[in-house]
Symmetry: none
Subunit: 408 residues, 2 copies
């Protein structure tokens, strides 16, 4: 049997709990979503504990699990993922941090953790503080969206077990401290970097301009979430998959790059609720031609969940359904298409929850189990039963005739 | 989301197999149980392998698993649980034994393993043989119900890997032997204790009195089931749960105390088929006010199973249902209520069996899956799917918004 292509569509945080205003239905149960239901009807359903029962997944750990990696083994912090997300090509041994551009006063007290939610001008600022040679390491910095950025320290003998410089509130910036003796050098270099970059930022034209306009200057970077780059065997080597991703959010892009996916920029794919669903569908179809495995993340459902807005979530279900319809109608039945979520973000909780997520798979060798709808409860009666996130990719490889044999 | 309270109700051994006389229904399928069914209807169901598929749980290992501990790692024998159950406050390094008060003749041959099922007078006997100083350890003894008791050896360098003194039949008492060289001291001390305590018991007024009445004297204790106290991280530290239990049986009380639960004595909660269900319901409701997690065990179903009495089991289902109704009607919908069993004790087997048990959870963030009845078969179609006992508490913590996040 010829190996088949796989499309995995992850609706970030779309899975939910019963909503009183919807007559104790979940948004997925209440919404009109003919394409999602068609996928379920033509395939096999189940539910999934993305990490494990009773464990609330972060978006980072969840995606690692969905790509078949054990997050308990490969996840050391969010820094490396953000760094990969903004496009720094990380290497083994690097230590990375998420950063905010922020505003400090002369006593180094943070007076705005987001530098007035600065939206433009961070690229020249980032360029000015990237490439600094420290005592035994190089610091690479790149801006992300809005006030965000990522810092990578590269050099011998670094260790990610250091505390944050970011005070996480409006108070004096913190000295990074080593959590283990091996991380002493890293903490020292990090503190040195923050001081030296602050001197450069203080007199940078972008900031002088902001001060003239009465805006808070982006005169410091606040590193947090240190992590080291673990040696992730890319999906291409692990499973022989040529793979690509359609994703708008930096974090998700970062994970995709970490596991060796190509992540082209898609015009209009914002990672917000205003994302261009048609553009995402078109990008997906384009990538299917040249790849074995195409991953699609749609962030909007998670945002509606965090906002506690069930009406917005209903609308997003329906928008994703339109996107899915465009994808399904142009794919032949040989392509294995899986639809699921990375975690639940119930509107009643406004945060991720540990509730399992629905899963439906059609195409390729997928069985047809008689489940007719795609939602948290219908999926639970499906023939896939209840699986763990780490088992998803192997399951899809099986259905796509890409699994390997053990024994004779 | 504010964390919610959890009530876990375990119907000991209530789960069963098809019964011929009930038209191949199980007692749970045949009984009238409107409260149990309401719980299922308003929540989510599933089945549970308390330890694992094809493993017959003991009540001790089962409860450890239900509280989230891996019994394969933390269980070393029943002694410590019985000791905690009778109220000896065990410490790390202690070695404990279950004991019977028994009758021996002059040649140390056991002629009655239960000393004529002695029912009273064991407290002064226990006091007389508790606190003995041995060569390098202290022996603590406390009576349990009827002929039962528990022995704890406390001192440096003890090891539980020793054989029983109890011959488990009417023959000469056994010398305890070390199973590993490290346990040599413990075996020696145990044998010393049995001899010395026998001398004290022989002339104790309670026994002289029994002999005068023609009753077999309780002139020896027969230790068995050696176990050491493992370092169990209590639920309060592990999950931040303030917790309490309503339980009548010594064994279950012991496990509850081991994991850090408060276990108040409930008047009328006998651990028998005559238990006061209303008193148990009231105690539960009282404890819910002051705790995050309240555990309730009802032993009666297991007794009916061991007796092979399906009519008694039907009556017990209905009695538990009355208790459940009292509990449910006074709890608000925020409280997560779970109903399950620690194992099956089919009336056709008269022993524990490896059959999975039904599980239903309502309240808090529980999804509603359309299952309308609480029994072994209906529950298996529920959206919880099939889980393991060790996953129960994490699952309940998730539904109660008490789970922890992994990642960002």
């Amino acid at each position: 049997m010829a190996p088949k292509k796989i499309v995995l569509i992850v609706c970030d945080g779309l899975s939910d709990r019963p909503v009183k205003e919807l007559g104790m239905k979940t948004p997925l149960q209440a919404a009109k979503k003919p394409a999602m239901d068609a996928l379920a009807r033509n395939g096999i359903s189940g539910t999934m504990d993305v990490i494990g029962p009773g464990i609330i997944p972060g978006s980072d750990t969840a995606h690692l699990a969905l790509f078949g990696y054990d997050p308990h083994k490969v996840y050391s912090g969010r820094g490396p993922i953000e760094a990969m997300g903004v496009g720094i090509d990380m290497r083994k041994g690097d230590v990375a941090f998420r950063c905010n551009f922020a505003t400090v006063d002369k006593s180094m007290k943070v007076i705005d953790r987001r530098a007035g939610r600065i939206r433009s001008g961070t690229e020249p600022l980032a360029n000015a503080i990237s490439g600094l040679k420290l005592d035994g390491a190089t610091a690479l910095f790149k801006q992300g969206s809005e006030h965000r950025g990522a810092l990578v320290l590269r050099g011998p003998g670094l260790d990610h077990r250091v505390t944050d410089v970011d005070p996480h509130r409006e108070s004096r910036i913190l000295e990074s401290k080593p959590l283990v003796p091996e991380a002493e050098k890293t903490a020292k270099l990090l503190n040195e970097y923050v001081r030296r970059s602050a001197r450069i930022l203080a007199t940078h034209p972008v900031n002088l301009d902001r001060v003239r306009q009465g805006l808070p200057p982006a005169n410091i970077v606040l590193p947090r979430g240190a992590g080291s780059m673990n040696d992730l065997e890319p999906l291409s080597e692990r499973y022989g998959l040529k793979c690509a991703a359609v994703a708008g959010v930096t974090l998700v892009k970062g994970i995709c790059r970490m596991v060796g996916m190509e992540v082209p920029d898609v015009q209009g794919a914002t990672g917000g609720t205003d994302t261009d669903y048609v553009a995402k569908a078109k990008a997906t179809l384009r990538l299917v031609d040249a790849n074995d495995f195409v991953f699609v993340n749609i962030k909007a459902g998670d945002i509606a969940g965090h906002d506690g807005d069930f009406r917005m979530k209903l609308r997003i279900v329906e928008s994703i359904d339109v996107m899915l319809e465009l994808i399904l109608k142009d794919l032949n039945e040989d392509v294995v298409v899986a639809l699921t979520c990375d975690h639940s973000t119930p509107v009643s909780v406004k945060e991720h929850s540990a509730d399992p997520v629905p899963l439906a798979v059609c195409g390729g060798g997928a069985r047809i189990d008689g489940i007719k709808e795609f939602d948290e409860v219908s999926a639970a009666s499906g023939a896939l039963g209840r699986i763990r996130g780490m088992d998803l990719l192997p399951t899809l490889l099986g259905i796509a005739d890409r699994a390997t044999k053990f024994g004779a």
